[in-house]
Amino acid sequence: MSDANRKSKYTTVSIPRALYNRIQKLIEGKGFKSVSDYVTYVLREVVAMHEMESQEEPFTKEDLEEIKKRLRALGYI
């Protein structure tokens, strides 16, 4: 894969100009390189928070009983 391809993993989304301007002011001197950097940071935080609401387990009830048996034998529970 060329270097150009590796770096082009971005797409464009639109936000209101006024919000863009607010963010630009907000991030001055705060370590964010650009409005895009800030928006990416905030969105990742929000998305991660929503994703935390569901959780899947890879084991069945029978598996769980086996696991508990071992944990009891080892004194963990």
Binding site: A48, P58, L74, Y76, I77
Partner: protein, 382 residues
Amino acid sequence: MVARPHGGRLVYKVVKDSRRERMLREVEELPRIKIDRNTAVDLENIAHGIYSPLTGFMTREDFESVLDFMRLSNDLPWTMPIVLDVSREDAEFFDEGDLIAIYAGDTPLATMVVEDIYGYDKKEYARKVFKTDDPKHPGVDRVYHKEDLLVGGSIELLNQLPNEYERYTLRPIETRVVFRERGWRTIVGFQTRNAPHIGHEYIQKTSLAFVDGLFINPVIGRKKPGDFRDDVILKAYETLIANYYPRKSVVLSIVRYEMKYAGPREAIHHAIMRKNFGCTHFIVGRDHAGVGSYYGPYEAQEIFNEFPDLGITPLFFREFFYCRRCNGIVHEKICPHGEDARLRFSGTMIRRHIMEGKAPPKEVIRPEVAETILSFDKPFVE
């Protein structure tokens, strides 16, 4: 609630008995590659979900995304390449799409569906992950000794490596049950490669004051001469817990893992591993996963600012020490006294005492812990 696994689902790629026997017969017919112990440990960690959401060794897309962005190609935080290297000669025997067998010695460990075979630049790998291409860096040296090609694809584990510490080994699927059964909602993970001194104890107890449970997770892996032996570390921790910890609030279990010494990047990786064990918090001390002077003392803490979506909360600590004037264990943020009043928890000093058959000062190491260590004929790796 116990932390959600990284990526949302705990990976479990251990083949169950019903299929295992058949697969063990079939692997004999498959193209095979042999891997070293370090790669075999990574393989097991993938299979048991310690590296969730990875279901196998990285394909090129993930590998390059990790190097460039410290994220998997699906945007999840991930900082360390988890790769399987093969020689060009071995790669002659299979193609993308093939099912191959992975062996350690004569033991078939796993099968793998080959999704990708690709070349890579070792210097670029080193510079991006270790921030140096100096071959004296132990992690860089290991990269330079890798074979020229990487193979990516999902795995299924058929056999485990022998484990002399099986009794102390809990996998994420088990720790999650332990934490839930104990009613813990918040758990702090502590990684260690050392017998505990009082500085460790204070960091752990300070953290425990804010959460329900403490998960002490010693790393068992290759060690260098002069390091504490693994069995010594475990016995020392058992002694410490028995004498000084509320036992209902602590779980001690090991993880097999080969340190890469990648400093900040590896600190993130360690946090992700503990998230998969179910931890909601992770302790990051001074120079976490560092070696020599390749990283700044608190660089491994600062990198967490770049990952608002990591899903585990880091707890940052300065170096604790004993202050004669404070008459207690403190750190530089809360102690106004000079260096002459401070007794540091120096590994060299502890080692010197132990090698002379003497217990280190009680301000540095608990007498019971010292006694446990001294009960071993040879507590250090030779």
